[in-house]
């Protein structure tokens, strides 16, 4: 009997569009986010932030501020000295990565506009802000470095003199015979330079923390809008000198995170320090304006790429150079080297070529730190690869679909190791491409496009294949010394009335973690899903685990739930076997009952629960019911479970205004077993729109002095409903053999491929004008510039 037999039972919830039970509460306004919590003696925090990108703190006068109404304490770097140890954003497996120690509040120098300098603790946020306006700081402005090239120029003074220069990290890959491939007599070479602006997460719920230090118990409780409570518990314990189990981190409802809420932020650390200093609960909720200069930013890359092909369109070699800017610090504890590292690892990796050269340089700048944000590096790797492949197709007179048919790794060629060394267990690029072309009626769209072009209407069709790194093992972060767990755990308990409670280490940010876990537990235990309760987001009440990041919740956490459910089922059947005087192997669970193997009901789970908990006296001597089971799971066979997919974009470009109207978007995606197609589709769609934001709208615009020019939601454009297209999603299911469930991740695929598909569609629309655009976001202004109209 296969271990997965429960999947095929009619009552299984696997593969079904099960609505999220928790969504009802959210839709009724009953969500509990950090700002909704109001403990007694609460103190609110506001910050004075550096107005300059780079400046020395000369003098400081908080006299008037400290006398302002409602002020409890003005907190400077000096006030919290000794309460914490600084943190350094490096990992040992990134050889040569360097970053200076970072502090909650700037010491004698600020290195980006928005860096927190002074904290005001007051009775309300409004009063704290009033007092913040009264703090007088004399600054000596220093030369700032904002441009990446300038940052690495030999004459540029290092932002951190102790580090010697502004090169935080560099890495090169040189596989195969790149020069020989480019030098071939019949080789066709195309090259292009790409730019990707900075953008940021704009979580609907801004970053939020409520730190409550109990001086008597020397314990710290933190309610935190965060993705990784166990990691933050380790970090708070370590950097505030607290006992590991004196720290509890709870994540109530989280109003969006997308990678923003997984990094150590100086203002959050200040909130913890303030709570220790004051012995009172301290709340800090970033407002929208300060979020723009204090949340992490993402991307900011300049990539030069060259592609060598045979005359028949086979890719022979790819050579690329990525320069990325990360602000003044590598973030802690994940580091800011991972984004660029992913770019060089992933670029071109879904094609067959064996010759690959890449160079990565990561530069310090006087702008907010950039680091991991949804799809880390993938949108860059994908856009560069897919754009240059399209450019080559145009050069060779090939259809974009055909150049991909020629070069995608064949579906029967796995396992495959890429030129950059990535190991792919089994992917389905060819099947995905053919499915997509059919789904979007590619040939029909091409005909429509040709016909409309004759009438002066410029439509573009863009394709983008991609891979997504999911289910990372310990080689991703743990090996480098970070307290980042690659495993997750679940404890499932049978309650006396026959329902179960599952404490689960993966967190819920709205993606549907709890529904996914409930579906697995209910299916494996033969329970109606209403009988399953999932508990998440509390370091004291859930098993230890990594949380939400890198598309790992279902693939890693889901497997832990499955294994825990199997273990509990075995325990239940053994006890039921004793009660029924029947061998456990002849019993099964279905619809809340213990049944025989044919499905006939024997006793209810409530009866088993009652016997286990209340009527042990009825059981034979020596029987010890074990009605809870815990299992943990960590991927073993592969360092990562790669997924794959392909996206299609159809749009119309107005050559007079430069405006792009998105008409339709399609995604075919292979994340292995789909536990809940509705939730996976919604992850894909949300991801696509986040990717479209970066491709068309979102940009943190900085001037040369390092001042953010559009740090508000009126000037920083995010995708809204009217500009977004309908998005059709289809799936191929290639299971991973690394787990019984066979699920891989799906959270970032949409964001990985959308910018590339849209960029290729824009360039396809521009084809009659014989111009291309290679800068994101592709704003109307940039499109008109490409057209030579401005």
């Amino acid at each position: 009997m296969s271990i997965l037999s429960f999947l095929d039972k009619p009552a299984s919830y696997i593969g079904k569009r099960v609505p999220r039970p928790g969504a009802k509460r959210l839709l009724a306004g009953g969500g509990r986010y950090v700002d909704d919590l109001r403990p007694p003696r609460l103190v609110h925090l506001a910050f004075v932030r550096s107005p300059y990108a780079h400046a020395r703190l000369v003098s400081f006068d908080a006299g008037a501020a400290s006398r302002a109404p409602g002020v409890i304490r003005i907190i400077t770097a000096k006030d919290i000295e000794g309460l914490y140890t600084p943190w350094v954003g490096v990992l040992t497996h990134f050889k040569g990565l360097k970053s200076p120690p970072q502090h909650p509040l700037a010491l004698e120098r600020a290195t980006w506009q928005g860096e927190p300098v002074v904290a005001i603790a007051a009775e309300s946020r409004a009063l704290a802000e009033d007092a913040a306006a009264l703090v007088r700081i004399e600054w000596q402005e220093l030369p700032s470095v904002t441009d990446m090239e300038e940052s690495l120029a030999p004459e540029t003074k290092p932002i951190h003199p102790a580090l010697g220069d502004n090169l935080a990290f560099t890495r090169s890959i040189d596989a195969g015979e790149v020069d020989a491939a480019f030098a071939g007599a019949d080789t066709v070479v195309v090259e292009e330079e790409y730019s990707f602006a900075r953008h940021t997460g704009v979580c609907p719920e801004p970053r939020a923390i409520l730190a409550d230090y109990d001086p008597a118990g020397q314990s710290l409780t933190v309610h935190y809008s965060n993705q990784a409570p166990h990691m933050m518990k380790e970090i708070f314990a370590k950097h505030f000198g607290l006992a590991e189990n004196a720290v509890r981190v709870l994540c109530p409802d989280v109003g969006g995170s997308y990678g923003i809420k997984i990094h150590v932020y100086p203002d959050d650390m200040t909130a913890v320090a303030a709570s220790i200093l004051l012995g009172r609960p301290v709340k800090f909720i970033a407002d929208r304006l300060e979020s723009f200069v204090s949340d992490i930013h993402a991307r900011e890359h300049r990539v030069k790429a060259r592609l060598a092909l045979s005359k028949t369109g086979e890719i022979l070699a790819l050579d690329m150079d990525d320069l990325t800017g990360i602000g003044p610090y590598s973030t802690y504890p994940r580091t800011s080297a991972v984004e660029g590292n992913q770019v060089v690892n992933l670029t071109g990796s879904w094609y067959r070529h064996r010759n690959y050269r890449a160079r990565l340089r990561v530069a310090f700048q006087n702008k907010p730190p950039t680091t991991q944000y949804r799809a880390v590096g993938h949108p860059i790797a994908c856009a560069v690869t897919e754009a240059i492949v399209d450019r080559a197709a145009a050069e060779l007179g090939l259809d974009p679909a055909d150049i991909r048919r020629i070069n995608l790794i064949p579906d029967d060629a796995y396992p495959w190791t890429t030129a950059s060394g990535l190991k792919f267990e089994k992917l389905s690029h060819q099947a995905a491409l053919e499915t997509l072309l059919k789904l979007m009626d590619y040939d029909g769209l091409r005909r429509e496009q040709a016909e409309l072009r004759n009438r002066g209407i410029h439509r573009g069709i863009g394709l983008a294949s991609f891979v997504e790194l999911t289910n990372p093992g310990p080689a991703f972060y743990g090996v480098g010394g970070a307290p980042i767990s690659a495993q997750d755990g679940a404890t499932i308990r049978l309650d006396p009335g026959g329902s179960v409670t599952c404490a689960f280490s993966v967190t819920e940010q709205g993606q549907g973690t709890e529904a996914m876990a409930a579906q697995i537990a209910a299916s494996a235990l033969g329970l109606p899903i209403e009988k399953v309760r999932i508990v998440t987001g509390d370091t004291e009440r859930t098993p230890y685990g990594g949380g939400t990041w890198a598309s790992r919740g279902a693939g890693i956490g889901g497997e832990a739930v499955l294994q825990a459910a199997h273990a509990l089922k075995q325990n239940i059947l053994e006890l039921a076997g004793i009660m029924l005087q029947t061998p456990a192997a002849q019993l099964d669970l279905a619809e809340g009952w213990v049944t025989d193997l044919a499905g006939a009901r024997r006793i209810g789970l409530d009866e088993v629960g009652r016997a286990a908990y209340f009527r042990g006296d009825t059981l034979p001597p020596g029987t010890q019911p074990e009605m809870s089971a815990t299992r943990h799971y960590m991927p073993k066979l592969y360092p990562f479970a790669f997924t794959n997919g392909v996206q299609g974009s159809y749009l119309e470009l107005d050559a007079e205004t430069g405006f792009v109207r998105l008409l339709k978007h399609w995604v075919v995606e292979d994340c292995g077993r789909v536990i809940n197609p509705m939730l996976v589709d919604e992850q894909i769609r949300g991801g696509v729109v986040q990717g479209i934001g970066g491709a068309l709208f979102e940009e943190c615009i900085y001037d040369e002095a390092g001042q953010l020019l559009n740090g508000n939601l009126a000037d920083y454009l995010v995708p809204m409903a009217a500009e977004m297209p309908d998005i059709e999603v289809a799936h191929i299911e290639t299971l991973t053999q690394d787990s019984a469930l066979g699920a891989k991740g799906a959270g970032e695929a949409g964001t990985a491929g959308a910018p590339a598909a849209v960029m290729n569609a824009v360039n396809d629309a521009l084809k009659p004008f014989q111009v291309r655009i290679s800068t994101q976001p592709m704003t109307p202004q940039r499109i008109l510039r490409a057209l030579g109209k401005v």
């Binding site: 609505p19 999220r20 969504a23 009802k24 959210l26 839709l27 009724a28 306004g29 009953g30 969500g31 509990r32 986010y33 700002d35 909704d36 109404p69 409004a126 009063l127 009033d130 997460g201 704009v202 979580c203 609907p204 719920e205 801004p206 409802d253 989280v254 109003g255 969006g256 995170s257 997308y258 909720i285 407002d287 929208r288 304006l289 940010q509 709205g510 993606q511 549907g512 509705m678 939730l679 919604e682 769609r685 949300g686 991801g687 696509v688 729109v689 986040q690 508000n712 939601l713 009126a714 995010v718 995708p719 809204m720 409903a721 009217a722 500009e723 977004m724 309908d726 998005i727 949409g750």
Partner: protein
């Protein structure tokens, strides 16, 4: 400035409320801090994102752009009141079934805006739904499921109207 306190009376979710409040107190802070109605959310605080959407005398309003003291004698309705009264029940049920909600932070504003649309336009096209909801920022869903949900409720309400 922050010391000026003003006495106001208004109706919130059908209940009469009287408070002496600072003149500068924003409606969202008033609802959240004075009345404990935390379903109305702070997000952009400058009138763009729609997370703070409420009804004032039956009209959609951005709570973040209104001072509480402007509302003497007004009727204010929030997600809590509109959930309890059942006004939004059909939208809430379909939003849940179609997963037109992820983190939930924008949902109150989305539901109120969608309901306002459907009161004015009984058969909105997908483009009209998208246009109308463009004052409500959602970072999670990509909007497609929200548009599906609103279209489904519009159709269901139309059938109901026909039947009665």
């Amino acid at each position: 400035m922050s010391d000026d306190r003003i006495f106001i009376r208004l109706i919130v979710n059908g209940e009469s409320v009287a408070r002496e409040i600072p003149a500068r107190l924003n409606l969202v802070d008033f609802l959240r801090d004075e009345l404990g109605l935390t379903g109305t959310r702070w997000s952009c605080e400058h009138g763009v994102c729609g997370a703070c959407t409420v009804l004032i005398n039956g009209e959609l309003a951005r709570g973040c752009l209104v001072f509480a003291v402007q509302l003497e004698g007004c009727h204010v309705e929030t997600i809590e009141g509109l959930s309890r009264s059942g006004v939004l029940a059909d939208l809430q049920a379909v939003f849940q079934r179609r997963n037109a909600v992820q983190c939930g932070f924008c949902s109150a504003g989305m539901l109120l805006s969608a309901d306002a649309l459907l009161r004015e336009n009984h058969a909105p096209s997908r483009a009209e739904i998208r246009e109308h909801l463009s004052g409500n920022y959602c970072r999670c869903t990509g909007y497609h499921a929200i548009v599906d949900a609103v279209a489904e409720v519009a159709a269901a309400r139309a059938v109901k109207v026909k039947a009665t």
